[in-house]
């Protein structure tokens, strides 16, 4: 029988096909490589679109020639299994490889080869086509600390170092002290944090000059807002989740109303409310700082989301757990604290991590009330007449910053999930 499909190898003549196929694939990739890195095109004699598609066609033919279910060669088998199962996949594989080759040289040029980081003024960047990292270097302190006076940056640094140190206290609690670990993190730590930030960053006493919250900004403000948001929205969300599962109708309906209301409105309108509407609701002589109002708004808002996540965990617990706890004679609170919540919270670690990530990603929104953290500072730097036209660098810098923070958080949550996983 004559094999009609000449491009289909068999195990007997596979060696020949392998050599020809690899050569074709290599020619295709090499052609794109030359075009993108050295701007050389050897195929100008081919008409327009054929010239353009040549590497793709030749690569496809090559991949088709080496596709065999079992060849005996480990590398070829791996390629066939992973990136060359059928013609469609082979085409996508080639397109991805070619796009990567095409994108690398300009990106590399712009980001590194032709970029500048020297100098302290815009003039250093005028000469080159590449990115102007000088801009980031000059504005770095602003992106980190906002308009906080330069001389006092040590106060922010110290405050954060002390806060982190206090956060690790839990690790050193041994023996009897360990019973108080929840109490420490839930109640004592937030108070300590508030006191430190109030006295060290805000100042006004102990000989430290007072810095108004309008001057705070940059990444440190992102941390402060997210930090208090995280600490307070969690217990509030827990109470709301319990309330929504409560058997007492008044408490249940109030919780449902609260949760549905806050989940139904965008954060930006909540922030608007906190800045323009909330002062109307307070006695005219009362004054609440803008930052505190904003943080309170974020806490109230995110608590509703946390509540829904925790409710999912509560619902996932089998009824037997409740019954068992009750049959041991536990009251409501004892049952929730010692039996239900520990199990439910363990189940919803990924969901809570997602909510916390959302909170961190939502912090840039505080620009609507005139507070500028990293993204807000970028907008300020971008419109500075001395530094016009470097928006791209700023956004890339901030993207990497946020990406790193969020990625680290999600990895940590995955670690926690594994740590607290118990076989069921």
């Amino acid at each position: 029988m004559i094999n009609i499909n000449i491009l289909k190898p068999t195990s007997s003549n596979f060696q020949t096909y392998l050599y020809i196929g690899s050569a074709l694939i290599f020619i295709g990739i090499f052609d794109v490589f030359l075009r993108s890195f050295f701007n050389i095109n050897y195929l100008t004699f081919l008409p327009g679109s054929l010239n353009f598609l040549f590497p793709l066609i030749i690569g496809l033919v090559g991949l088709q020639m080496i596709r065999l279910e079992y060849s005996g060669n480990r590398i070829v088998d791996k390629i066939n299994q992973n990136i060359n199962n059928n013609t469609f996949n082979a085409g996508l594989t080639l397109i991805i490889i070619f796009l990567t080759l095409l994108v690398i040289p300009p990106a590399l040029d712009w980001m590194i080869l032709e970029a500048t980081i020297s100098g302290d003024t815009k003039e250093a960047c005028v000469a080159t086509e590449g990115a102007c990292w000088t801009y980031i270097k000059v504005w770095f302190r602003r992106f980190m600390y906002g308009m906080y006076p330069n001389d006092f940056h040590w106060r922010i640094n110290t405050a954060f170092i002390v806060l982190i140190a206090f956060a690790f206290v839990g690790y050193f609690m041994r023996g009897k002290l360990k019973n108080y670990i929840t109490f420490y993190y839930a109640i004592l730590y937030p108070i300590i944090a508030f006191v430190i930030i109030n006295f060290l960053i805000s100042g006004g006493s102990f000989g430290l000059e007072w810095v108004e919250t309008n001057a705070w900004g940059g990444l440190s403000l992102t941390f402060i807002v997210s930090f208090f948001g995280l600490i307070f929205c969690f217990p509030l969300g827990m109470i709301l989740a319990l309330g929504r599962r409560s058997e007492l109708p008044v408490i249940r309906y109030i919780s449902i109303g609260y949760i549905e209301f806050w989940r139904g409105v965008p954060l930006i309108t909540v922030l608007f409310m906190s800045s323009v509407m909330f002062p109307m609701f307070l006695p005219s002589d009362a004054f609440v700082d803008k930052l505190i109002r904003v943080i309170a708004a974020i806490i109230l808002f995110e608590a509703a989301y946390v509540a829904e996540v925790i409710r999912g965990g509560l619902q996932a617990l089998p009824r037997g757990q409740y019954d068992a706890a009750k049959s041991l004679g536990m009251g409501y609170w004892k049952m929730q604290i010692f039996v239900i919540l520990p199990q439910a919270l363990k189940l919803v670690i990924p969901g809570i991590a997602n909510t916390f990530l959302a909170l961190v990603k939502d912090t840039p929104l505080i620009f609507v009330v005139g507070l500028s953290e990293v993204v807000g500072m970028l907008q300020m730097a971008k419109t500075n007449p001395k530094w016009l036209g470097y928006a791209m660098e700023g956004y890339i810098f901030a993207s990497i910053l946020f990406w790193a923070i969020c990625y680290a958080m999600s990895k940590y949550s995955q670690y926690l999930e594994l740590k607290y996983k118990t076989e069921r």
Partner: protein, 383 residues
């Protein structure tokens, strides 16, 4: 008796607390408004707004009322949301399926896309598209056409405008097609349940959707003209494209950022849905003798959709709420027009912020109610 009191006391305390908080706020608000000489009321909605909006779907200028300005903002919000939902679904489904691809490169490219775009704040992405990416586009006079007749410039995206004659008849014909499709579907289901025969429903539906409008064209009841964008000189250095439809860069940036960001979440929902179907289902269907196409259509998809749709709707809701970030790049959505400009002019913080919040709340709650109803309908009925 003892038990009853035990359950009443906490409820009473909670109620008292809530009433006290609300009462405290109301009394303060009244005092504050008296002090400033503002009287609470929604009468201002009928007053002349006297501000212009850059981009509006309906006829509007400064001489119209605040209520009309509200409508303009609302329509713009809905426009962005609908466009965003369409694009994020398309991208999300593609990426979600790509994440399950047997191809190593595709799987990982999709994974990188998801990891990157969902870990960068949406606001930053909107700013990036608006201030960095779209600003790098050429001026109208230097623009090369894209797809022959459209022009992507720094001043917006110019596309041909379709001018319909008797557009309503076309709509009626499409409606008629949809109604007949519903009937045919019901008939096909009945046929399958009773006799086990299958009709090519999808083909018939597509055919009907084409044939009905085509008839209106052929008979000359509906006519279509296309107005291509033409370069027009406004002043010595300022050019625009006239005649065609212009999509402002704000809308472009917003839809791009919203759909690319939300697509990552939709992709995860799709992936979870497909992965959630156990292998046994597929094998069982195959052993009953269904073809691969039938397996996908009758066994896998109905079950996967049950997992996919609820979280995806949630993402659509999030997209709608996130579209309020439009205010940051001055796209005239509900928040910018109403909670921004109108609030500045009238100073009626409580009324305007409450209307804005209620609008979003109504939007969200109605979708939630719809979702719950749908969930109940498709839930597996266990015996």
């Amino acid at each position: 008796m003892n038990h009853k009191i035990k359950s009443i006391i906490p409820q009473l305390l909670t109620l008292l607390f809530v009433v006290a908080v609300i009462g405290f706020f109301t009394i303060n608000a009244q005092l504050n408004m008296e002090e400033r000489g503002i009287d609470f009321g929604y009468g201002f909605l009928n007053q002349e707004s006297s501000f212009d909006v850059q981009f509006s779907l309906i006829e509007y200028d400064g001489s119209h009322s605040y209520a009309k300005a509200y409508l303009v903002g609302l329509l713009n919000t809905i426009l962005v949301s609908v466009l965003g939902i369409i694009f994020c679904t398309i991208i999300g489904v593609i990426i979600g399926i790509a994440r399950l691809s047997p191809n190593y490169l595709i799987r990982n490219t999709a994974a990188w896309y998801v990891e990157f775009f969902r870990n960068v704040p949406l606001l930053l992405q909107i700013f990036f598209w608006y201030y960095a990416a779209l600003r790098a586009l050429p001026l109208p006079e230097n623009t090369e056409p894209l797809f022959g007749v459209t022009y992507l410039t720094v001043k917006g995206y110019y596309i041909p405008r379709l001018i319909w004659e008797n557009f309503d008849i076309l709509i009626y014909s499409i409606l008629a097609a949809i109604i007949s499709i519903v009937f045919i579907r019901n008939y096909a289901r009945k046929l399958q349940e009773e006799k086990g025969q299958q009709l090519p429903v999808l083909l018939i539906s597509a055919g009907l959707l084409l044939v009905f409008p085509a008839i209106t064209f052929v008979t000359g009841m509906v006519q279509l003209e296309v107005a291509l964008p033409v370069l027009k000189q406004l002043s010595k250095t300022s050019f625009i494209y006239a005649e065609g439809l212009s999509i402002p860069p704000e809308l472009l940036a917003l839809v791009l950022a919203l759909s690319l960001y939300t697509a990552t979440f939709v992709a995860e929902c799709v992936r979870a849905g497909i992965q959630g179907i156990s292998k046994g289902q597929k094998e069982a269907a195959a052993s009953v003798g269904l073809t691969p196409n039938q397996i996908l259509k009758l066994v896998i998809m109905p079950q996967a959709l049950r997992i996919i749709i609820p979280p995806t709707t949630n993402q659509y809701l999030n997209l709608t709420k996130n579209s309020s970030l439009a205010a940051a790049i001055a796209y005239p959505d509900l928040v910018l027009v109403f909670a921004g400009t109108a609030l500045m002019q009238t100073g009626r913080a409580i009324e305007i912020v409450s209307i804005t919040m209620l609008t979003y709340l109504t939007l969200s709650l109605s979708i939630s109610v719809l979702m719950n109803w749908y969930n109940k309908k498709i839930a597996i009925k266990e015996k």
